[in-house]
Each structure stands twice: as structure tokens, then as C-alpha cells.
């Protein structure tokens, strides 16, 4: 596969910088989109004042975030408290490195791309727990505890569901998986039945991983004020917020690469297809968020261990059997 830039290091640097720029810009306007979407759902207007249709609102928000007073609570573990927000954002963005945007364009075409993405996405529970622990606040502590429990639990069905494409294509490389889908079938339809269920479960667990309602128990506002981010102010809080959005977007992109054929599609250029699929999944994420109530933490765990884990295990077995029989 011929890459646009020959040197691997240079390629990684250029593509990585490009990805981060695109992602962070996207995250800013995704927050605008989410506010507008929520407003429409709730029969409100949403942001209207800053720029046409409030389009410049994210910029105003960013300026506001920078201007606010930065407070580190007395008694907080200062080093960890400062470390947690950039670490969260770093981990969310690092996952994006293996995302295949179009043929020949990805920051790093790792052979174990799926493993890498899932590992970094799973690590995300860690800095949030650090934030909760270092804040010296009981709400933050409880939120951090919930985050760890939820992150670790939902990692398992998520990995198992991601194994289905891996088993079918026989590759751990995301670009190989997308190429297989472009050549054969989208994995959401293949193996028939199993693919759809695996996709729905993967999407659900990805929601849980990125703390979106109905799985946002770590920062459940009505119970824990703001969970691990309770004590954070100014741009530190902003980093958490953008990390959450970035993680959601990356999860959506991952799901579309694994199951929806990635860049594969007629007429339009490949990168547009990838963006379209990711955007469509993110709309669903947002839509679900503003339509559902929140689960209780024990119910969340029960859902994971009693239903999602066994079903996803069965899916992996089914996919293996399919490959063995059909080939």
C-alpha cells in the first residue's frame, strides 16, 4: 500500500497533527451541535447570540474557559490534580492515531490497531479516577470509584464485540479490516445476524466507555454534582469536557471502521464516507443522550455482567464457528 509520505516518522507526525487539529476543531463545533440538538429536542432555541445561529459560541466558550479562575482545592493532591485533565485528553486523542480516515491516510498503520485503540480507550478510566482521587472531595471520589468499576466492566464486552470483526477478517489492523469490508461485506451484515448484534453491543459499550447517558453514572449530576470533575474549574474542566467529546467521536469512528465499512462507499471520496458514518453515529449518540434516563450503578453492572458479557462471548464463538464452517 503506497503511502502519500514515504518516511514513517514524518508521515506519523503530519497525519497525527492533522488528525488532532481536525478532531479538536470538530469537538468544539460538536459541542455547538449538541447544544442545538438538545434545544430542538427540548423545544428551545439553543445558542443564538454569538455569531449566526450561535455558531461562534464554542469560541466564546473557549475564551470563557481560559479566563475563569483556576482553583486547586486545599488538600488536593496538586500534582495529580494538574496531571489528570491533560492525561484524559491525551488518551482520548491517542486512540485516534490508528483510525483509518482514507486509504493511505492514518497516523500509524499499526498491525495491532484494534488492540491499541481498545487499550487506550480502556486506559481512560485511569486519569478520571486520578482526578476523582486527587480532588479531596467525596463526590469526586465516589465518581472516580464508579468510573473505574464501569470502565473495567464495560471494557470486557467491548473487546469481545470488537473481536468479531477480527475473527472474521483475520487481522488486527484497522486498515486491513476496512479493506476486507470494502472487498467483501460490511461486517455489520456479515456474518448475518451476528454482525448486527455485535455492532449494537459494541456501540452500546462504547457509549458506556465514553460516559454518555444512559451510562454516565460517574458524573451523574443529580447525584454526584459533577462526579470526578466536581472540583475542576476553568480550562482544566474544559479539557475534561473536550476529552469526553473527543472520546465519543473516536468511539464512533472506531465503530464505523470496525462494522460500517470505514471509508467504503460509492461516488463520494473515501474520507467523506468515513466522516459521514462517524457523524451519523454521533448524531445517534447525542439523540440517545437527550432521550434516556440514567441507570443506577448496580443495575449498570448487572446489565454488563449478566447480559452483555455472555452475549458477546457467544457472538465471538458464533463468529468463530461461522469462519470455521463458511470460511
Amino acid at each position: 500500500m503506497g503511502h502519500l509520505i514515504a518516511n514513517a516518522w514524518l508521515r506519523g507526525l503530519v497525519h497525527g497533527a492533522l488528525l488532532i487539529t481536525v478532531l479538536m476543531t470538530a469537538v468544539a463545533w460538536i459541542s455547538w451541535f449538541e447544544r442545538k440538538f438538545a434545544a430542538r429536542v427540548q423545544s428551545r432555541l439553543g445558542p443564538t447570540m454569538v455569531g449566526p445561529a450561535g455558531l461562534l459560541q464554542p469560541i466564546a466558550d473557549a475564551f470563557k474557559m481560559f479566563q475563569k479562575e483556576d482553583i486547586i482545592p486545599r488538600g488536593a493532591d496538586s500534582l495529580l490534580f494538574r496531571l489528570a485533565p491533560p492525561l484524559t485528553l491525551f488518551l482520548s486523542l491517542a486512540t485516534a492515531a490508528v483510525l483509518p480516515i482514507m486509504p493511505g491516510m492514518l497516523a500509524s498503520d499499526l498491525d495491532i490497531g484494534v488492540l491499541y485503540a481498545l487499550a487506550f480507550s480502556g486506559l481512560l478510566a485511569f486519569p478520571i479516577w486520578v482526578a476523582g482521587w486527587s480532588s479531596a472531595n467525596k463526590y469526586a471520589l465516589l465518581g472516580g470509584m464508579r468510573m473505574v468499576a464501569q470502565g473495567i466492566s464495560y471494557e470486557i464486552p467491548m473487546v469481545l464485540c470488537a473481536l468479531v470483526p477480527v475473527v472474521v477478517t483475520g487481522s488486527l489492523s484497522l486498515s486491513e479490516i476496512v479493506k476486507y469490508q470494502a472487498a467483501h461485506h460490511w461486517l455489520v451484515f456479515w456474518p448475518p445476524g451476528i454482525g448486527v448484534i455485535a455492532f449494537v453491543l459494541f456501540f452500546t459499550t462504547a457509549l458506556a466507555e465514553s460516559n454518555r447517558i444512559p451510562f454516565d453514572i460517574p458524573e451523574a449530576e443529580s447525584e454526584l454534582v459533577a462526579g470526578p470533575t466536581t472540583e475542576y474549574t476553568a480550562i482544566r474542566f474544559g479539557l475534561f469536557a473536550s476529552a469526553e467529546y473527543a472520546h465519543s467521536v473516536v468511539s464512533c469512528a472506531l465503530a464505523s471502521a470496525l462494522f460500517l465499512g470505514g471509508w467504503d462507499g460509492p461516488v463520494l471520496p473515501p474520507s467523506v464516507w468515513m466522516l459521514l458514518k462517524t457523524a451519523a453515529l454521533f448524531v445517534i449518540v447525542t439523540w440517545v443522550r437527550w432521550s434516556l434516563l440514567r441507570l443506577r450503578s448496580d443495575q449498570l453492572m448487572a446489565l454488563c455482567w449478566k447480559y452483555l458479557v455472555p452475549v458477546s462471548l457467544a457472538l465471538v464463538l458464533g463468529a468463530g464457528a461461522w469462519v470455521y464452517v463458511v470460511g
Binding site: A220, S222, R289, L295
Partner: protein, 411 residues
Amino acid sequence: MASTAAVSSKARASSTEASLTPTRAFVPDPYLDLATYAAAADLLTLSLGPQHPSTHGVFRVVLYLDGELIVKAVPHVGYLHRGVEKLCEKLSYSNVTPILDKNDYVAPMCNEQAANMVFEQLLGVEVPLRAKFVRTLLAELQRIASHLLWLGTFAMDLGGALGGGTSVFMYCFRERELILDLFEELTGCRFHYNTHCIGGNRHDIPAGYPALVHQSLDLIEARLLEYLGMLEHPIFRDRTRGVGTVDAELALELGLTGPLLRASGIDHDLRRDAPYHVYDLLDVNVICDDGGDCYARYKVRLQEIAESIRLSRLLIDNLPAGPICSTKPLSGVTQFKITSGQAYVAIESPRGELGTWLIAGGKGMNPYRMKLRPPSLHALAAVPYLFPRHTLSDAVAILGSLDPIMGEADR
């Protein structure tokens, strides 16, 4: 010393035995859990409130947590104490009404009515039939508005300020606005009306009002059905079923009233059992549920909205002609004097039995003592009984289902 200690410990033992005997009324010890809890030293003390998103104002409850599990809950009230009862002792009788609007700020109409009814009883003033109809109508509309607000905030407690809960909250507020618009049309204010006076009402129904009422009620009825499907989600049922169960005995023991009592299976409604206004002319369906949990309270309140819509339609259709007030319009601050006597009037506010007890005395210019019986305070008394054995998330749901309004609980 030793002997007294022995005696008191013996007394304590016997009292424990007494409380366990089934013949006596059920008196559970709310703090029993902590005493018997093995890991008492390792409990996390969490002060929920007074500044917290879901304490419905400034309620504070100190939770003793074992992980997520609540072992003991100690409620603290009084953060919103404004001395309303004392203030009433200073104000003349006609000035009390606008002050009591601020008491239960979600159902101000009921507060006005309770106060004015007690004044009328002591003064021996008869209220004209039209005014009674209007008062009943206002009380029922207020019940719809109050229950809608409750539904919205309850959904927000369950679904978070940044999720589906807020969507339901916004829908409920949109519908509640329709009722507030009706009140504005009649009284000129959306919240603090001061529309009742001794002997009747101050504002008469404007022209075209019945059509407006029908229009708004139709809208509310239709829209409620539209988004109830959103709430009838398995997540909602999981979060509310079997959570915060109050059985009939405990409900009676704590003095719970209104929807809380009816959700515990006790068929009691002042509108039917001690009719005031024109409730004796109406056939009020009292809605009961045996569940006693958050889900039962939700169902009872929802059906009460439907019942109130039905009653409001009946009332506005059968509004009699006639005067709206039997006393002369207020012309000075000392128009009414009550020199002696005392009376207690209880009405069914959206939250339960709202009582006003007045002792008149002195020169008769002001109440000698005015005692309000807020249903919210009694609802909050259930907190130490309901929270233990539930998780922190459930605590928020239970508190929401009790529908406390701190303005009237703390007065």
C-alpha cells in the same frame, strides 16, 4: 450511678422488646442500621446538600455510606427558614395572603386559600358560590401545575441535568407554562397571585376564559400522552419500582398525606372526606395505589393530573353567575378585626394536607398565632426511614418522589 445505668439499660431493653411486639403500631427505629452495622467505623459521611443539584432547594441530609449503600441518613431542615409564621403575627389579616404566596411557591393558590378560609371561618363570612367555584378551579389547575413540575424535577433527578431527564423537565415546564398563562390571564401574575381575599376572590373570570381553559387543558392532555412513552422505559421502572417503599403503617405513623399516603394504599383525600369549596358537589375520584414505592407515587400523581383536568373542565363549564366576593373591597389596612377564637382549616394541597391554625387575640388587628402545617415537612420525616438500604442514586430518586418544597417545609 451504676444502678441508674443498669435501670436505664433494662428500660432500653424492655422498650426494644415492646417495639418488636406486633400488637403495637409499627414504630421502626430509623437509626437501627448504624448501631448494628459491623463496619460502622469505616463509613463515609457524605453531606448531601444544602447546595446540591437534587435536594429540591436547600434540604440537607447527612448520609453514612458503605460504598454506595446508605446505612444511615440524618435530615436537617431549616435552611430556608424565613419566619413566615412570626411575620403573619405582625401583618394585618388582609396582608397575610400575599406573604403566604411565597410559602409553598409551587402551589401558591392553595396557601392563599387555606389562610383565607381560616379567616372566613372565624369572621363568619360566607363565600359566594361563584367564588367557591373559582377557588376550586384554581386549586385544581394549581394541582396540575404542581404535579407537572414534580414530574419534571423527578425525571431530572433520575436522568440528570444533561440528559433525557432534562427533556422531560422541559416538556413538563412547557405544559406548566400553559397553566401559568391561565393564572396570568385571570390575576395578572404568574406566581404570586394575591387573588384571594376574605370573603371571596379579588379578580373575576375574564371574558373568553372558559375557552382558554379548555384549550390549555386539551393541549396538556394530548402532550402528556406524547412523552409519557419516554418515561415508561424499563430504565425508569428499574429505577423506581421497589425503591423507597412506605407501607401503610409507616405512612400513618409519619403523618404523610396527599399522594404519598394514597400511594401507600390508604384511601384518604380531604377533597372527598372533608369537602370544602364545592368539592361536595363534585364526584372526586380518589386515586390510590398499593405499591408504596416511587413508581406508585409517580402513578398516583399522573392519574391525579388526569383527574384534575377532568374536574377543571367540569368546574369551568358549570360556573354559576353572581358576585365573586361577599365582603366590601379592601379600603384600608384594618378592614377586618378578629378579636377572639381559634380555628384550624385543612385543605388538600397538591402535596397533601395543608393546615392553617389561627389563634386570634389582642386588639384583633393581627393574628395572635398562626401555625402552618406543611405537608412537605412531614414528607421529609420519612427520609431517615426510607434512605437506609438504598444506594446514593436511589436516595435522589426517593427524595424526588417525596416532592418536598423547602419553602413550606422550613417556612
